[in-house]
Amino acid sequence: MKPCNANKTCWNCPAAMLKGNVDFRACGQSKEKKRQLSEEKQVMIECSRRKELGHFEPTITFEQCPEWELNENYNLYMLKNMRVMILGLDGYLGWALALKLGKLGFKVSGIDNYWRRDCVMEKGAHTVVPIQRMTERLRAAKEVLGIDINFRKMDILDRPKLKEFLEETKPEAIIHYAECPSAPYSMVDVDHAVKVQENNVLGTLGLLWLIKEVVPESCLIKLGTMGEYGAPLTGRPIFEGIFPANATLKWDDREWSLGGELTPRDPVSFYHVSKVQDTFNCYEACKYWWLRSYDVMQGVIYGVHTEEVAADPRLRTRLDMDEWFGTVVNRFVTQSILGMPLTIYGEGEQLRGFIALDDAMQCMVRLISSPPEAGQYDVVNQVSGLIRVKNLAETVANVAKDFGINTKIQRVENPRVEADKHPLEVISTKLPADLGFNASITFDAEIRKMFELLTQPEIKARIEEKKHAVMPKTRWDGVKQESESFETYDPGTKNLEDGHKGVLHTK
C-alpha cells in the first residue's frame, strides 16, 4: 500500500520556507507574505534543505523529494534527520518519545524544568518505576541506543532562553508536552489552579509567539486531551475538534452549516479549561500567522512499554501512581499490586477513550511525519478504544489473577463534578484512516506487561512505600476529606452489559 503521506507536498513540509507571493498577471509582488491558495497568485518557497532549487512553487510530493525517505516498518515517509524539539522531555511521554524518535534517526532536542518531579514530590509520592537523573538518562541513551539528545534544563515560561534554544536548534517539529497534565492538581487550591493555568496557558501562548518569530514553518504538535470535549449527555458525537463539512445546526425552522467550526468544549476542571484556552490560542495563531499545528486530543494514557524504554533499566520512563499524576489504569495496577481495591468513582459508568503508551508514541511519529499545511490548525482524537471505568477495573482485576493477586473493586464518592453515566460516541478516523495508525496494543497485553514490571521486588517496594498517595483526596468542591466508600465488590459480580456503550468510529 502506498504510504499515507506519499502525496503530501511542500505545502506540508517544514523545510519549505515561504518567500513571498507574486501575482505575475500584474508583474506584482504582494507586501504580505501569505500562503494563499489562489491559483492566480504564485506562492514562492525556498527549501531550507535544497537551496539549489532556488525559488519554486510548493508542489513536490514527499514521494518525489529525496529529503523524505521511506521507513518501511511504518510504511511512512520521514524527513531525513528531522529536527524535533520536545518540550517536557523528562516526562512520562516526553522521554519515551525522545528515545523512539532518536532511534528512528530524528535529531532530538528538548527542554524540561523537572516540574513534574517536583509536583510528585510535593504530593509525597514518587515515580514507581525508578528513573535516573537527566545526565544519566542522556548518557544511557547514548550508550544503549546510540542517541544524542540535545537537552537544556529550562522553564517554558523563560522565553528569552527558549528563544535562544529555538534559534540554535531550528526545530522542524515541536512537540509540546510541557504542560501540567493533572486535573486534580489544578483543583487543590487557588495557588495550584493559578500555577497550572499560568504554566499551560501562558507557556503555550509564549511558545506560539516564539514559533512565529523564529521557526514559523515548524509544526507544533500540542498535547490536548479528550477531556476538553467533556461527555455530552445528549450523546452527540465527539468529532475531531472541528465539525465536518456536512454538520448543521437547526433552530427555529432554520438551518446553518457548522462545517469547519470548532466543536463545543466542556472542560471538567481548571486544568481542562487551560487546555481549552490553549486550543483557541493555537487555532488563532494558525489563522493570524500561518503557523501549522496538530492538537492531539489524547485519550487516557496508560502503560509502561516501548521497545526503547525497555532496552535498559536506566532508560525507563516514569510511572506515577498518586492521585494527582497517576492515570486511571496505571493507578489500578498499582492498587492491585498493593492489595487494595480498585477505586472507581460513583457508579464507575464513566466512558473514556484510552491509548497505550507505545500506540501513542506511534501516533506521534506519524503526526510528526505528516504535518498539516501551513496555516492549518488540525485536530486528531488519539484513542485506540473506549471503555467504561468499571469494565476497565474488571480487566485489570482479571489480569491480576494471573499474577496471583486477588483484587476487589470499590465504589467511592466521586471527588469530581462530572456525569457518572453518559453516552460516548467518538470519531477518531484521521490517525487510522489518513495517517496509517494501526493500534497494536490491547488492554490485556499492556496491563500484563505492567504487572510483569511493577511486581518486580524493587518496584513493588517503591509502590508500597508510597501507598498513602494513591487514594483520591482532592475534591472539586474543595472539601478536604478522602472520598468515602459506597461498596466493595468482587470482579465478575456486576452486570457489565447494562448502561451506555462507547461507540468509536475509526473509518
Binding site: 505545502w11 518567500k19 513571498g20 507574486v22 501575482d23 505575475f24 498577471r25 500584474a26 508583474c27 506584482g28 509582488q29 504582494s30 507586501k31 504580505e32 491558495l37 491559483e39 492566480e40 504564485q42 514562492m44 532549487l53 532556488g54 525559488h55 519554486f56 512553487e57 508542489t59 513536490i60 510530493t61 518525489q64
Partner: protein, 423 residues
C-alpha cells in the same frame, strides 16, 4: 570622461511616452527627445519582464541567459520554479565592464551579488536583506522608506490606495537614486521605475479612455515619472550619456486566452483529478502543456517524469499544435499572430530548455498559462497587457555611435559597451 546613465521605464510603450511628451504631460522627456535618438525597440520573446531585462543587461538571447519566463520547471520535474539572478547563465554588464556601477531596481536581479559598486535588486525581490549589495546600505534604504515594489494587492483592493502606493514607492525610489547619485562614486548609473508597468496592468483603460475616472490620475503619475526622470537628467553634464529604455510595451487587454484550455479542448492535455491542481497532475498521455504567457512545451519522453512524446512524433505534434492555434478565433478574429519554433528565435547552449513553440497574440488577446481553467476565453480585472514590438529606446550621447535600424532588447548591452568605450 563622461558617465553613463541608464533609465528604465518598465512596461512603457514607445507610443505612450511619445504621446504624453507631445501633450505636455512629460515635458522633461519632450526636451530630451529633441536632443537624442528615439526609436521603437523590439522586446524579448516572450515579452515578459524577466526575459527582457535579462537580455537587456546581458546582451544575449534566452537560450544563452537561460531565462524564458517568470516561471520555469525544475529540470526533470513538473515543479514550477521562479528563476532569479542566480539562474541567469550570462553575466550582467556591471559584472564584466570596467568601472564602478550603481544599479537600482533592475527586475530579475535578486538576490544581489557582489560587484564593484552598489546594487539594489528589483521585482521579484523577496526581501531587502538579500536585495542589496553591499548590505551596509540597508539602513540608508530603510531610512528613506525604500520599497522594492508597489504592493500589488492594493491594485485589487482599492485604486485610490494603489495610486497612493505608486506615488509613495516612486518618491522613495527617487530619493534613493538622488542620494546614491551624490554619495557614491560611479561610472554607470542604472535606475528603473517599475510602477509604470503596474499602473499599466491595472489601469490601461484609464489611459485610453479620457472619461475614465482615473484618467487624470494616470496622467499625473506619468507626470511624476517625468519629474523623476528630469531630476536625474538635470544632474547630468554634457559629457555624460543617457540611455532610456523600456523592456516591453503595453496595450489594452480585451480577452484572456487560456492556452492550456485550448490544449485540453483539443486533446493535447489531460489532468488527473486533484484538490489542488498543478503540473504534477498532468496525465502521462498528454502531448503538451503551456506556461505563461504562450510557451508550449511538448511532454517529451526522458525530459519529464510522465513524458510520453517520442522524438519521431514531435514534428507531427508541433504541426498539429500550430494548426490548432493558427485556427483559433474569437468573434471572427484570429487570436494568434505568430507561432515560433524555438530554433527560429533562440540560439545558444540552453536551447533544450526553451519552449517548443512560442505564441504571439494579436492585439487585445492576453495569453495565459493557467492550468485549471476549462473555458478558453475569460476576462479579469487587468486591463493592460504586455506588447512585444513597441518597447522604446532613447539615446543621447556626445559620442559618435550608430544605433541599429530596428533595435532589440539584446542591443542595449552593446550600446552601453560602445558608450563606455569598451569593445
Amino acid at each position: 570622461m563622461g558617465k553613463t546613465v541608464i533609465i528604465g521605464l518598465d512596461g512603457v510603450p514607445y507610443h505612450l511616452i511619445d504621446n504624453l511628451s507631445n501633450k505636455g504631460v512629460m515635458p522633461n522627456f519632450k526636451n530630451l527627445k529633441d536632443k537624442g535618438i528615439f526609436k521603437e525597440m523590439e522586446s524579448a520573446i516572450p515579452e515578459i519582464s524577466s526575459v527582457s531585462w535579462s537580455s537587456i543587461i546581458t546582451g544575449v538571447n534566452p537560450a544563452e541567459h537561460g531565462i524564458f519566463g517568470f516561471m520555469d520547471m525544475i529540470p526533470g520535474t513538473y515543479t514550477m520554479s521562479f528563476p532569479n539572478f542566480n539562474s541567469i547563465k550570462a553575466p550582467a554588464f556591471w559584472q564584466t565592464m570596467d568601472g564602478t556601477h550603481a544599479i537600482i531596481n533592475v527586475p530579475s536581479t535578486y538576490p544581489a551579488k557582489p560587484m564593484n559598486g552598489f546594487h539594489v535588486a528589483g521585482f521579484v525581490a523577496l526581501d531587502l536583506e538579500n536585495a542589496v549589495y553591499p548590505q551596509k546600505y540597508i539602513p540608508m534604504l530603510e531610512e528613506l522608506n525604500y520599497r522594492i515594489d508597489v504592493d500589488s494587492e492594493k491594485g485589487h483592493s482599492s485604486k485610490e490606495l494603489f495610486f497612493k502606493d505608486l506615488h509613495r514607492t516612486l518618491d522613495a525610489r527617487q530619493n534613493t537614486a538622488l542620494q546614491l547619485w551624490d554619495e557614491t562614486k560611479w561610472d554607470t548609473f542604472m535606475f528603473v521605475i517599475t510602477g509604470t508597468d503596474r499602473i499599466g496592468h491595472f489601469l490601461w483603460d484609464a489611459y485610453e479612455d479620457e472619461n475614465h475616472e482615473h484618467h487624470q490620475n494616470f496622467l499625473d503619475y506619468f507626470k511624476r515619472v517625468d519629474e523623476v526622470v528630469g531630476s536625474i537628467t538635470n544632474k547630468m553634464s554634457d559629457e555624460d550619456s543617457l540611455i532610456m529604455i523600456s523592456d516591453h510595451g503595453m496595450g489594452l487587454s480585451e480577452t484572456n486566452v487560456i492556452v492550456n484550455a485550448v490544449l485540453k479542448n483539443n486533446g493535447f492535455l489531460e489532468l488527473n483529478d486533484a484538490e489542488r491542481q498543478n503540473h504534477n497532475h498532468i496525465k502521462a498521455n498528454s502531448k503538451a502543456f503551456a506556461l505563461d504567457p504562450g510557451r508550449i512545451y511538448l511532454n517529451k519522453e526522458g525530459k519529464y517524469p510522465k513524458g510520453t512524446v517520442k522524438k519521431e512524433d514531435e514534428e507531427q505534434i508541433l504541426k498539429d499544435l500550430t494548426s490548432t492555434f493558427e485556427n483559433l478565433e474569437k468573434d471572427g478574429k484570429k487570436v494568434i499572430k505568430k507561432i515560433f519554433r524555438k530554433e527560429e528565435v533562440y540560439s545558444g547552449p540552453h536551447l533544450e530548455q526553451a519552449p517548443d513553440l512560442i505564441l504571439l497574440s494579436n492585439k487585445g488577446f492576453n495569453l495565459r498559462g493557467n492550468l485549471t481553467k476549462t473555458e478558453i476565453f475569460d476576462k479579469d480585472i487587468f486591463t493592460g497587457m504586455h506588447t512585444q514590438e513597441d518597447a522604446f529606446l532613447f539615446v543621447k550621447t556626445p559620442k559618435s555611435i550608430e544605433l541599429p535600424k530596428n533595435p532589440k532588447v539584446t542591443d542595449v548591452f552593446p550600446i552601453i559597451n560602445k558608450i563606455n568605450g569598451d569593445t
